[in-house]
Amino acid sequence: MAPMRRIRRDAKTLLLLGLGVVLALGAFSARQFRRDRSAARWVDHTQAVLGALDDYRYALKAAESARRGYVLTGSASDADAHAAAMTALLDDARSLRRLTADNPAQNARAASLEAATRASLELSTRLLARRRAGDVVGATRMVARREVTVVTDRALAAERAMSEEERALLSERRARFERLSRQAEWSLAAGALAGCAGIALSLWLLLRDLGTYERLHRELERTKELLQIVLDNVRSSVYIIDLDGRMLFLNKECARTLGGTPESVAGRSVRDLFPAEQAAEVIANNLRIHAAGRAAEIEETVSSADGLRTYLSFKAPIAPLPAEGPALCGVSTDVTALKDHERRLEAANKELEAFSYSVSHDLRAPLRAIGGFSRIIAEDHAAGLDPEGRRLFGRIIANSERMGRLIDDLLAFSRLGRQELNRTDVDMTALAARAARQCADAEPARSVRLALGVLPPARGDAAMLFQVWTNLLSNAWKYTRPRADAAVEIGGAVEDGADVYWIKDNGVGFDPRHAGKLFGVFSRLHGADEFEGTGVGLALVRRVVERHDGRVRAHGAVGAGAEFRFTLPHGRNA
């Protein structure tokens, strides 16, 4: 079923597409967030550097004021404060170098800052040593000396350069962080949007497919219902049977003849339903049909709920069922009454044939005596008769001869009905030619123009078909007798799967109103004194053609010739 396949394909495509889109968007968003997080880390790092620079600046100031205080007062607390500030300065400088390991320019600046710090530390140590030794003036002078301020200024300059650089980096990194944050937001929003669109599309497609499915389902249900109605109302047994004789499926009528309901009979074997011999025959029939691989029509006589009945069964092998394997579909119709009629009809027909035969047969003997003795009188005792007596005896003889021919034809006609067809391949061209030659030889004084084409071969009883040609051609010869330019045409063709043959003459023809009477026994359209004949010839033709399952028709008009066409089923084997 194509629609169901489409639905399955749609569902699969949608699922794969949806999964793909969600995975791709997820991966993209994850990457955006990772980049954003690393940008944030860089911002933090820059702020840490700036913080360290602030600390350094503060510590530098603290160291300077502690140094000045100690030089002025010589207090121990100032000395301690100075020492702590210097330690902090060195720590800060070292940590700045570590922090700027990633940035060579800043790292170089941090190195010079550290160098300036160490120089400042050395100078301060010397200055503080002088003051401790009591040289207040020398130390005070030293504080104001350019030597000291230069060192501090160098440190400050390095710190400022670093700060500026870091601040520039900070604003740059902040901007990058902002940009990436926005991008991540957008990709999330886009992902959500795409997801929503995908869900909506899937829903729409699924709803559409569901509609198709529901429609198909409804149609299927309706078809099933109608089929069930047909199956329930048909007066034949309809069933599916496996090769072992198990009834896999059956209709009500079938169940009824088997004495149950479809539910109670389904799954049971004909071995349980029929006497052993009948079951064996049914199964053998089924096996034969299955082996031949072709549907067949057979007669089966079995004991059913209606008694011993004869069924005409049409059985066809079907594709193996998934669960039950190879099986046949059968339709069996009770033809018992029909067979009885047929038998009675056949018997009546036989009786009738036998009757007509024996009547015709028994009529011949006295007829021969009448004709024979009349002739003996005419031959041996003619002297004792006057001319009128002799003329009248002539009439008796002529009539007895005519009656003899009638009886002979009737016998031939009756024999034809009883005779079995002996079917062979028949060369109709040769048969027609032989019959035509016979006609020509019978009247050698006449010249009849004969046109004989190539005729399709036939399948039938050659002797009977020869009789057909003989009768039709002798008619053509007979009814063209008044024509000086008598012409007979014999033709044939294959039309619509049947072999068609025709004989046309330019004889006296017939009134088409009487065409129907042409083929009746003893029915004639001409008087015996006009054209001789008994009126059996065409009846015989029709009988032969019909026994070959063919048809014969006549066309003609008074004075315009006649055409006889007969058709035989093409290449029929029986």
Partner: protein
């Protein structure tokens, strides 16, 4: 001329009319000098199997007869050593194929259907007579 004249033809025929016409046809050809006519099958068997007289040269046998039919007569003749080789021609009105088949199967020498037409009948009978009595060489 004399009773000692040998019998040449035995005509087995229940119809007096057919018998008369047959004899007349043979007489016309001068073939009816030694002819005996019996009216049924029993009489035919009695004639052929009873006496010591030499068998005829030809038997013309009708099929449909009262008492004993022609086919039964033929069967009995062929079962008897004395008449096994006797030329028997079936001369009957029956054109039925089963009769023809049975006739030959039982050993008939010919099967002739009596023509309805008198002239043809006369010709057929005289032809049969001429053939079997003049042309044919029968076993002694």
């Amino acid at each position: 001329m004399s009773a000692a004249k040998p019998i040449e033809i035995l005509l087995v025929e229940d119809s007096a009319d057919d018998a008369e016409m047959t004899i007349r046809a043979l007489r016309k050809r001068n073939l009816a000098n030694g002819i005996v006519h019996v009216r049924d099958g029993e009489a035919a068997l009695e004639f052929l199997h009873a006496g010591d007289a030499p068998p005829p040269r030809l038997v013309l046998l009708d099929l449909k007869m009262p008492k004993l039919g022609g086919l039964e007569v033929l069967k009995r003749l062929r079962e008897d050593a004395r008449t096994r080789a006797l030329p028997v021609v079936i001369l009957t009105s029956s054109k039925e194929e089963p009769d023809v088949q049975a006739g030959y199967a039982l050993g008939a020498n010919s099967y002739i259907v009596k023509p309805v037409d008198f002239e043809k009948f006369q010709e057929a009978v005289s032809t049969v007579g001429l053939y079997w009595l003049v042309l044919n060489q029968a076993p002694r």
